[in-house]
């Protein structure tokens, strides 16, 4: 039996036209919506079934033109052009408030002979502004099926499905772009030479500039004056200006508006939000509210989770048969996983705020405010988005650099984003801060909270200053610029975002849980067995921790980590952390549960009590500070490295990042320990 081939459709449009919202309401499988140019950074796909037909929807990054100027636009153009055989058609989304801009790309795709259905989204917004769009006239002028939608209210979505089901994709019968007279002869020759079925394809291959080498034989026939004017850039400008003239003509007959606009929310909000002074105050206030919520709002669920896991640990400790397995489960695995789950509320709250900021359109304003301040560090205003979302996780943050057009600024942003305090560092910081910082408050804020905030600030400052230093070592290709759409503010989808956050948090827990589970078992094995003590043994079993393979390995690396103030157990913790930072907590739980059998004592208390042979505390203030600094700076995340390699396509820069971050971590931690001890 042949597999039923799904019908594939592409969702295409400018950034911020509600494309992702259409995608999310159209498909059962969902993806994050954004109101910041470039949130849909990769091409995502989703599915739905309508009248027994399976449809695969590919959501491409938003773009303004088929001529790419950034990585995400390049992804878009490549897919649109290269995959034509695989998709049934393009569903093109226009926003009612910016028809003009949207029609530029629409016409380019139409002229490529790609079949399309047109959606006009957010008509309600236009109506509120007193703008009337004559859809019938519009449809006639463009020669295409138009569906009106309001994706957030689910209006018009079934009509889209119906149109896809009925294959109402229409291919334009003639090219709307008229080749400029001065190039017509040449373009015609090129089209027939290359076997293009229309002139625009020939024009576009010239404008893209990629085919110039291969058409030299045609070029020879040109006189010099002609070839000089065939600068790809110039052709693109010529095309854009001509298309806009054409669009103006079409829209003149389609749009009618009352003379007076109602003042929109966006205009009112921006009076404050991008204000020279108040804009920054509001941004700082928002950050403060986020961090306050992360630490104080999360306290209650965190206590419940902690209590649940200690109950679970005590329960399994009592009811499983006595022995090493009991100790592994009740003291190693359960507290280890609990140590991660307890951070779920904080991570969830942080993510939820970040989603709301992006969906509302506020992030674009932050880019506007921060551009000038980030430039001295070699970064672009757009770098603020990866930097801020890096406080949740560096992986999506690195991917979100794709809309930074300048290659150098993008590379710099990728290199420094992992310095931002991601949520995986939180468990480590919390446990170490709990060990070395005393209770007490300053101006009503706990010392511990202050130190934690200090760590966030430290991550941000190091990111900035390392960018400032690195910018001198990276060659600049191309110009740096900021030309960015400032979208209208939109009411975020609170419920929908909450669902997305819960999904992400669940991924974090299960992902980290699996790793901790495996690492705990490996550590347990390595500590249960040791080098043979009697000649007739293969290996020694049930050895004292100090005689185990684990101790042997840990002690092997001790000379390297001793200057930083760590004992071999911390060394093992740091080694396992190179898989992912949060594993440190799990490793410590397992290690300390192996040492003595006192299940009722919390791991943090065991760590506090632990002493060196000379009676000094293992987790002294100096050691604690050293661990904090090491985790702040070291590159200890395999997944981030994989993403950095994918995005930079360079082993050199990926390797450099590991060496730079980990080297810095080592030296800073060593200096701090040597001074403080």
């Amino acid at each position: 039996m042949q597999a039923n081939k799904k019908k594939q459709i592409l969702l295409v449009g400018n950034p911020n036209v509600g494309k992702s919202t259409v995608f999310n309401t159209l498909c059962n499988k969902k993806q994050k919506t954004g109101n910041y140019a470039g949130v849909t950074v990769a091409s995502y796909s989703g599915n739905y079934t309508y009248k027994n037909e399976d449809v695969e929807v590919v959501d491409l990054p938003g773009s303004y033109s088929v001529y790419p100027s950034s990585e995400d636009e390049a992804i878009f153009s490549k897919y649109l052009i290269d995959e034509q055989k695989n998709y049934a058609g393009v569903v093109y989304i226009l926003e009612a408030l910016s028809l003009k801009r949207g029609l530029l790309l629409f016409q380019q795709i139409q002229d490529l002979g790609i079949p399309m259905i047109l959606i006009v989204n957010q008509i309600d917004q236009a109506e509120r502004r007193g703008i009337n769009i004559d859809i019938q006239q519009f449809s006639k002028a463009l020669g295409i099926t138009i569906i009106q939608t309001n994706a957030k209210e689910q209006i018009g979505i079934d009509e889209v499905r119906e149109a896809v089901y009925n294959n109402q994709f229409i291919k334009a019968d003639k090219v709307s772009f008229e080749t400029p007279n001065e190039h017509r002869d040449f373009i015609r020759k090129l089209a027939s030479h290359k076997g293009f079925d229309n002139e625009y394809k020939a024009w576009m291959s010239l404008s893209l500039g990629t085919d110039l080498g291969r058409i030299e034989s045609v070029m020879d026939k040109l006189n010099e004056a002609d070839s000089k004017s065939l600068v790809p850039k110039r052709l693109q400008v010529q095309e854009t200006v001509r298309r806009y003239q054409n669009v103006d003509k079409i829209l003149d007959n389609v749009i009618s508006k009352k003379p007076q606009f109602k003042e929109l929310l966006t205009e009112k909000l921006d009076k404050v939000l991008v204000h020279k002074f108040w804009g920054y105050v509001v941004f700082l206030a928002i950050l403060l509210v986020i961090f306050q919520s992360v630490f104080f709002l999360a306290e209650y669920p965190m206590t419940w989770i902690e209590e649940t896991f200690s109950w679970l640990a005590a329960f399994t400790g009592e009811h499983l048969p006595e022995g090493p397995v009991n100790s592994l489960i009740s003291n190693g695995i359960i507290p280890g996983i609990g140590g991660i789950v307890v951070f779920a509320p904080q991570i969830g709250i942080l993510l939820y705020f970040l989603y709301l900021l992006e969906d509302s359109g506020y992030m674009a304003r932050v880019v506007f405010l921060m551009d000038r301040l980030l430039r001295p560090f070699g970064l672009n205003g757009k770098s603020i988005v990866p930097l801020v979302s890096g406080t949740a996780c560096a992986i999506p943050a690195v991917i979100s650099t794709r809309n930074i057009e300048n290659v150098k600024e993008r590379l710099l942003t990728i290199l420094v984003t992992p310095f931002m305090t991601c949520s995986a560092r939180l468990p480590v910081y919390s446990i170490i801060i709990g060990l070395i910082i005393s209770e007490g408050t300053f101006l009503g804020i706990k010392y511990k909270a202050l130190v934690l905030m200090g760590m966030y600030l430290l991550g941000f400052l190091v990111a900035l200053f390392s960018a400032a230093i690195l910018k001198g070592f990276i060659k600049n290709k191309g110009k740096t610029y900021l030309v960015m759409d400032l979208p209208t503010y939109k009411k975020p989808l609170f419920g929908y975002d909450l669902k997305m956050v819960l999904g992400k948090v669940w991924d974090f827990i299960t992902g980290a849980g699996k790793i901790i589970f495996i690492v705990s078992i490996i550590i347990w094995f390595l500590s249960y067995f040791g080098p043979k003590q009697q000649p007739n043994e293969l290996v020694a079993t049930n050895v004292e921790l100090d005689h185990s393979y684990l101790a042997k390995m840990g002690k092997g690396i001790e000379p390297v980590i001793a200057p930083l103030g760590y004992d071999w157990k911390m060394g093992v913790g740091i080694l396992t952390s190179f898989v992912a930072r949060e594993v440190f907590v799990g490793t410590m739980s397992t290690l300390y549960s192996l040492e003595d059998d006192a299940p009722e004592v919390k791991v943090i208390d065991k760590m506090r009590r632990d002493v060196k042979p000379n009676g000094e505390k293992v987790f002294s203030f100096a050691t604690g500070v050293s661990v904090l600094l090491f985790y702040a700076f070291a590159m200890q995340c395999v997944s981030t490295l994989a993403v950095v390699y994918r995005e930079t396509k360079s082993w050199k820069w990926t390797g450099f990042q590991v060496a730079m971050m980990t080297g810095l971590a080592y030296f800073v931690s060593m200096i701090a320990y040597q001074i403080l001890k």
């Binding site: 303004y64 033109s65 001529y67 100027s69 408030l97 910016s98 028809l99 003009k100 801009r101 530029l104 600068v231 850039k233 110039r234 693109q236 400008v237 854009t240 200006v241 806009y244 749009i255 606009f261 966006t266 921006d270 991008v274 204000h275 020279k276 804009g279 674009a364 880019v367 506007f368 405010l369 551009d371 000038r372 301040l373 205003g381 057009e405 110009k479 610029y481 900021l482 030309v483 960015m484 759409d485 400032l486 979208p487």
Partner: protein, 68 residues
């Protein structure tokens, strides 16, 4: 308030995005805000009142006429 007349002779170095976003000759625009220390400009333009952020350097490519 101002009107765009055209682009600098040097416009081949100008980012394409400026034109693609719709800052075309004859377009009426207003600079509503500017970020401190000669930061980006917040420009509202065209019949659709589109808004974009633009640095001064990019603005220099555009030849404009002041309107009252």
């Amino acid at each position: 308030m101002g009107k765009i007349l055209g682009y600098d002779n040097d416009h081949l170095k100008m980012p394409n995005k400026i034109i693609e976003m719709g800052l075309l000759p004859e377009t009426i625009f207003r600079i509503l805000y500017q970020a401190p220390f000669n930061g980006p400009m917040y420009v509202e333009f065209g019949v659709e009142k589109s808004r974009i952020a633009l640095r001064e350097e990019e603005g220099d490519y555009i030849i404009v006429e002041e309107l009252n």
